[in-house]
Amino acid sequence: MNANEIDQQTLLQNEKDPLTHTPVHLLSLERVGKHYGNIIALSDVTMAVDNGRVTCVLGDNGAGKSTLIKIIAGLHQHDAGVLNIMGEERKFGSPRDALDAGIATVYQDLAVVPLMPIWRNFFLGSELTSGFGPFKSMDVEKMKEITLKELAAMGIDLRDVEQPIGQLSGGERQCVAIARAVYFGAKVLILDEPTAALGVKQSGVVLRYILQARDRGLGVIFITHNPHHAFPVGDRFLLLKRGKSIGYYDKKDITLDELTAQMAGGAELAELAHELEQLGGHGDIVKEVKGEVADVAQTTGKTYG
């Protein structure tokens, strides 16, 4: 057991709601699990989200990150453990339920409908209407105006809200989706790998919006596989591997190097170096991997291989 690894239960007990000073989280999961048929996608995951805090969920492909957010977003239902919203146990039947509870999700790939104009996307599912009964119509002018204003407030300088959103860059699309969630009064914002498909500069832009959303008092769940993106913005870090939690830390208890080491899995890297050597791999690459192993060993205080 690593000295930095804190028992999840004690960590939770020390947390207090910043407003009410009662031990209640905006959103919390306790030993949540989910299986598809005989495949266990997620088991025993415990985490919490609070106002004005960023909780990062880190893990490699297949670690169970998507399953986790789908449970919180109401796309799937968990079949073990408890999901609490403001201390109240909930189980969401549909994404609408989750939205009504103030949980908004920005998906990496299905955030928006590409062929539709930006303003239609911005208000999709929550359109403003005026008029009565069957003659209710959308307040188009107001919706366009709000879209432009809200995006400007998030620092997104858009050209034309009438253009199809598919014409925007990946980063801009993510930002529109974030601005949308903020505008519609989300209390919890889930971001599914918002930086995965983006370049360095675009990623920086998205990270800035994450902080902006946090400063507006939202609880943010930031899903990523990149510790370099997670560490600067995160307050808490949940590490997932093969559907299980392998660590849950407060920022004060962990450094970027340790986070990276945990993510990379020192033992696996050592094994990889060994294998490459046996296969007669390129000398430089082997040396590089070995160097990495040494780094990891140094930061975690363990020896591998």
Binding site: P95, L124, T129, K136, L158
Partner: protein
């Protein structure tokens, strides 16, 4: 605030947006290809056949267009919603048969049959949509099955109840005249008889356009056709929207079915097969994307108008109507290509 702050406030007129002229805006509309095609075709037939532009002949063209156009409204919306319906052609006949057979067999006022036909038509649409949503099969397969089943039911039940291949005449039954006045009368405008279906068609297009452009449901229709998963994720009721679209098609089938019934007072049970393609063609010529998420109700109407012009124009030009299908195919191909080119150019600008 400091004086060094030079950043301009939220730009309403951004210098990166070149002012688009109304003409360029028009080029970006989905139905522009069809509109150009319609104008070319109109001018062509006007030159080839002098009778084509005479009011009476034009009213006939409009009537022909409306019988396709009424269905094209529902089919266009459905296509924008990302689905497809192959059962529409026979569903029109099913509706007409329901109304006539029921009121004939039970000797009721024909309006009772008309009401029942509406329920049945909406029901067919509901079942189509419900099976589609439950099974997640492609709508092509589901509605192909409904198409075959309805074709069989139309023939089988008509023979079983009426003992023939056509429904018995209901022209002397109670309520027939008032129903004919609603569904199959003519309105005299400046000495020209214009069929009432033309007005129903225009009204339907207007309502559909309003729904599509100005209501939340319209927003949802675009969204479920453009990306159903994204729509679901932001809380759009995808299932209800798609089932509603199929029921909208059912409603259009009911109107056209009632027109067919009261225009001729009897219905051939084997009719309607193949018409579903005409409605789909009208929607596609009108700029609706086969894959969903893009298009307009007006486009479908223009597509139907092109169909009507070609159909009657060939007759007025005194050509052999055998050629009609060839022209229809050629037009479909040309219109789709023009749509594609215009859309690409409009997006580049």
């Amino acid at each position: 605030m400091t004086i060094t702050q030079t950043k301009t406030p939220a730009p309403t007129a951004d210098e990166r947006v070149a002012k688009r002229s109304p003409f360029q805006k028009l080029l970006g509309r989905p139905e522009i290809g069809a509109l150009v095609g319609a104008i070319v075709l109109f001018v062509f037939f006007a030159l080839v056949s002098p009778t084509f532009t005479q009011p009476n002949a034009f009213a006939t063209v409009l009537y022909g267009s409306s019988t396709i156009g009424i269905m094209a409204v529902g089919v266009s919306l459905l296509m924008i919603g990302g689905e497809f319906d192959l059962s529409t052609g026979v569903a029109v006949i099913s509706s007409a048969l329901t109304a006539s057979m029921f009121s004939w067999y039970f000797s009721t006022n024909v309006w009772v049959g008309v009401g029942l036909a509406l329920v049945v038509s909406l029901g067919i649409g509901y079942i189509n949509g419900w099976i589609l949503m439950k099974t997640k099969l492609p709508s092509f397969i589901v509605t192909l099955a409904t198409f075959l089943m309805l074709t069989g039911l139309n023939l089988g039940l008509t023979r079983l109840i009426g003992g023939g291949v056509s429904s018995p005449s209901i022209s002397n039954m109670e309520g027939f005249d008032s129903a004919r006045a609603v569904f199959a009368s003519s309105v005299n405008i400046a000495g020209v008889d214009v069929k009432i279906t033309v007005f129903i068609w225009i009204a339907l297009v207007a309502v559909a356009t309003w729904v599509l452009m100005r209501t939340r449901v319209g927003n949802w229709i675009f969204a479920v056709g453009g990306d159903a998963n994204a729509a679901r994720a932001v809380g759009v009721p995808v299932k209800a929207t798609k089932i509603g679209l199929f029921m909208g098609v059912g409603f259009c089938a009911w109107i056209l079915g009632m027109h067919n019934l009261f225009a001729f007072d009897t219905v051939q049970s084997g009719e309607g097969v193949g018409n579903e393609f005409l409605y789909i063609i009208a929607a596609v010529i009108g700029g609706c994307l086969l894959t969903g998420g893009y298009g307009s109700a007006i486009g479908g109407a223009i597509g139907a108008f092109i169909f009507g012009m070609a159909n009657k124009g060939i007759v007025y030009a005194q050509w052999n109507p055998d050629w009609f299908k060839f022209f229809l195919g050629l037009m479909l191909l040309l219109a789709t290509i023009v749509n594609l080119i215009v859309k690409r150019r409009a997006e580049l600008k």
